[in-house]
């Protein structure tokens, strides 16, 4: 979105330009449906079953959306080897994107909260913002569509790969995902 702002001038063919500028990673709806699917798959439907720390959503989102990335991650997790240069690069890039997406995700979550699709609650104890989905306010056609089979499958794989994902701190998650694989992260 930032890029399209910068290119505000000299627009002659708006549609073409918009098409070229399209980046699914930053698309609102792309982020939205992934978050909703993740929350649904983890059964976060009320305050008891809430998802701890919404920032983790941004980090696992790429692995849910891209099977090959997930497979790559699982491959190194299994054999405890340091990823090759190319794969390391891929992981690093994924991390950067996830990190940069945080702000966008919070905006989207606020919108969703405003539309009563999700609920956000401040966790004083762990200093996080936790989240759950209000399934009644989301159309069934979206939540139960066959289209998301892949994502659901990926989430299941991820669950097996990383235990207690719902309650994990973001720090631990980042360790599991990146630091253990040789990707440095900025979080303290």
């Amino acid at each position: 979105m930032e890029k399209s702002n910068g290119n505000n001038k000299n627009i002659q063919h708006l549609n073409v330009k918009k098409r070229i500028m399209f980046n699914k990673d930053e698309d609102y709806y792309f982020i939205t449906y992934n978050i909703l699917i993740i929350l649904k798959s983890f059964g976060c439907k009320d305050v008891k079953s809430k998802w701890t720390d919404y920032t983790k959503l941004s980090y696992i989102l790429p692995f849910v959306a891209d099977s090959s990335l997930l497979d790559l991650y699982i491959r190194y997790l299994d054999n405890n080897r340091i990823p090759s240069k190319e794969d390391l690069e891929i992981l690093r890039e994924t991390y950067f994107k996830s990190r940069l997406r945080l702000q966008l995700i919070s905006s989207i979550l606020f919108t969703l909260e405003a539309n009563h699709m999700v609920s956000l609650v401040k966790n004083e104890k762990r200093h996080t913002i936790d989240i759950w989905v209000n399934q009644n306010n989301i159309p069934d056609t979206l939540m139960k569509s066959d289209l998301f089979e892949v994502e659901i499958k990926n989430i299941d794989k991820l669950k097996t790969a990383i235990k207690r994902l719902k309650g994990l701190s973001s720090k631990t998650l980042l360790e599991r995902l990146y630091t253990n694989n040789g990707v440095r992260v900025w979080e303290a």
Binding site: K24, T32, T111, M117
Partner: protein, 664 residues
């Protein structure tokens, strides 16, 4: 030219017998009462000389000669002088044998068939061919349209035999078979006349015959040549466009190569191991190996680069496909949730009330240029389509990448094989180096020798083909040349002949008109038309009796020409049968027959004229011989000029008929 004369006529059967007196040259008259055998006499001559005589054709039972038909074992024997040489012709009457004439001469005895249809081979002689040859007249083929036939003596005889069956308005004796249009056509009659009058004509017609034969030969050769080319082509050889010389050179080079190879082989066998050559050989092999190896490595590097490219492309395609499915989900989410619009705040994502033509920030802006942060359903679909299109493009790139990879693999396989071969050769060398033999090289040389030998064989065969072809070509060309030269000869001859004929016709005209004016005072003009027929007084009608004179004088003119001029082939012989029977009055007949005198006169003149230049021997001969022509005339008793009485050789009456009964 040739001359023909009879010296005796003999008939012999079981019941009848006849023997003429000895006949001399000059005029010989047989006078007879009607029914005493005048016609029998001339018929016997005709029959004996190979003519068709109707009353002697005993295959049917009509109009037969009574006595001869009833007789058995009967034959006619003619004693004949041809160019002063004696021959005897014997011909039987029995239909089973009547197609043969037995000819007997000095040290010579032969039998000839009479009719051409009884010989199988076209070139076999019949009697006519023999007698024409003796008379110096070439037997020639006459072509009319697609039909052809050979001139026979019987054709010429039509102007030798003055018969009484033929209508006097005609000149030529009637042809035996009126159905044959060709042999009695005006053209053929002209040929007969030309042959008898112009000495070069027989040569001309024989060349025509030759020409036709050569043309046939040429066509056959042409066909053979064409067939040969086709067959050789089918056998897989080439003839056209290759010269014999080229092949011979090729062959020489090949045999030289073979010789060299054999010499080399010999030296390999005798010479033992040469270390420098061996080292060189190994060096060569190693160099080759190195070269192949380095090429192979280059290609392998290229291959790995291509593999990386392919992997990237495949990944890109997968990403693209993934994105397509994700966009589909986005569209679904957009449709179901419809959360974000151009009026969504980019910061808090909440709905804002935006003034038209103003941005969210409050600045004025063109609505169409308003940068929307959010996509509508249509726009998402557009993006989807473009992504799907991209997938197709990537697919193409992938397939071309795969092709390239296949090519590279192939090249690598090929190079590996080459490498292995070279390595194997090196191993071989290594193995043999202890034996210090040149086996490998020897094998190579043997292979090469075999190859060269097989090439030599092929070239040799082709050379033979070409030789044969050229031989045929040569034959064809020579036949073509012969044809051309014959054609040229014919053309030049045609001109000469035309002139000759004009001269002869002029002569004929002169003699004919002189004679006929002498015999018939009413004639003031006589000449030959284009068909060599005499036209009297410009063709004005005259009484029927005058035709006897017209015809008889024609015959006399012919014989006179042959007597006067040495180069006229007419055989100086006439057989005149009862000319008075066709309504000519006696006075005219006598005056016409008196013309025979002219034959003697002119001859004497000629003898006198040429006496000076003849040597003594010849003069002697001339004096001793009789006249050099013969006219046999059968006629009624006394129906000839008084002065010819001395020429009467036989007088036949009712009491003394021709055929005498043999008393048993």
């Amino acid at each position: 030219m040739g001359s023909l004369a009879l010296s005796k006529i003999i008939y012999k059967g079981d019941n009848y017998y006849y023997s003429s007196k000895d006949l001399k040259k000059g005029v010989q008259i047989v006078e007879a009462d009607n029914g005493a055998g005048k016609t029998t006499f001339s018929s016997l001559i005709s029959y004996g000389i190979g003519m068709y005589v109707r009353q002697f054709d005993f295959r049917n039972e009509k109009d037969n000669h009574r006595e001869i038909y009833s007789d058995t074992n009967n034959y006619v024997l003619l004693k004949v002088l041809i160019n002063k040489k004696q021959f005897e012709f014997t011909r039987y009457f029995n239909p089973a044998n009547s197609n043969v004439i037995f000819v007997k001469g000095d040290n010579f005895e032969e039998s000839y068939p009479i009719y051409r249809n009884s010989v199988k081979n076209e070139d076999d002689w019949i009697f006519s061919d023999w007698i024409l040859y003796k008379l110096g007249i070439e037997v020639c083929e006459i072509f009319q349209g697609i039909r052809k036939f050979k001139i026979n003596f019987s054709d010429l005889f039509r102007l030798i035999h003055y018969d009484q069956d033929t209508n006097a308005q005609n000149i030529y004796k009637d042809h035996r078979n009126d159905k044959n249009f060709v042999s009695d056509s005006a053209a053929v009659r002209k040929v007969i006349f030309e042959l008898l009058v112009g000495y070069q004509f027989s040569e001309y017609y024989s060349i025509i015959g030759d020409y036709n034969k050569t043309e046939r030969e040429k066509n056959t050769l042409k066909e053979t040549l064409d067939n040969y080319i086709e067959i050789v082509h089918k056998m897989g050889f080439k003839i056209i466009g290759i010269s014999q010389e080229e092949l011979t050179n090729q062959l020489r080079e090949l045999s030289l190569q073979l010789q060299k190879l054999e010499l080399y082989r010999k030296s390999l066998k005798t010479n033992h191991y040469s270390s420098t050559r061996y080292v060189k050989y190994i060096h060569q092999l190693r160099e080759g190996l190195f070269r192949v190896d380095s090429t192979c490595n280059g290609i392998k590097a290229e291959k790995s680069a291509t593999i990386i490219e392919l992997r990237d492309l495949i990944r890109l395609r997968e990403d693209m496909i993934l994105e397509v499915t994700q966009i589909k989900k986005i569209i679904l989410a957009h449709g179901e949730l419809n959360l974000f619009s151009p009026n969504t705040c980019p910061c808090c994502l909440r709905e804002v009330k935006r003034k038209e033509n103003h941005c969210i920030c409050g600045n004025s802006i063109d609505e169409s240029q308003y940068e929307k942060f959010f996509y509508s359903a249509d726009e998402y679909l557009d993006i989807l389509k473009s992504r799907q299109k991209s997938v197709e493009t990537i697919e193409t790139a992938i397939s071309s990448c795969k092709e390239e990879l296949e090519d590279l693999n192939e090249a690598i396989t090929r190079l590996e094989l080459e490498k292995n071969k070279t390595i194997a050769q090196l191993r071989e060398v290594e193995k043999n180096i202890t034996h210090t033999s040149n086996d490998v090289e020897l094998n190579n040389v043997n292979d090469k020798i075999l190859e060269v030998k097989s090439t030599i064989q092929t070239v040799d065969q082709n050379l033979k083909n070409i030789e044969q072809y050229e031989k045929l070509q040569k034959e064809f060309n020579s036949s073509k040349d012969k044809l051309a030269s014959l054609s040229a000869k014919l053309r030049s001859m045609e001109t000469t002949l035309k002139e000759l004929m004009e001269v002869q016709i002029e002569k004929f005209d002169k003699i004919y008109s002189e004679l006929i004016k002498q015999a018939d005072k009413n004639v003031n003009k006589a000449e030959l038309d284009d068909d060599y027929m005499p036209v009297i007084n410009n063709g004005v009608y005259r009484q029927a009796s005058s035709y006897v004179t017209r015809r008889l004088v024609y015959y006399l003119t012919l014989i006179k020409m042959s007597i006067d001029t040495d180069n006229v082939p007419f055989p100086k012989f006439l057989l005149i049968d009862t000319p008075e029977n066709l309504g000519i009055d006696e006075k005219n007949l006598i005056s016409t027959l008196s013309l025979i005198d002219e034959l003697f006169i002119n001859e004497e003149e000629q003898v006198e004229k040429t006496e000076e230049i003849k040597d003594e021997e010849q003069i002697e001969e001339e004096k001793q011989t009789e006249p050099n022509f013969q006219i046999i005339l059968t006629t009624g008793i006394g129906k000839f000029p008084e002065k010819y009485k001395e020429y009467v050789v036989e007088t036949l009456t009712d009491d003394n008929k021709l055929l005498k009964v043999i008393k048993q």
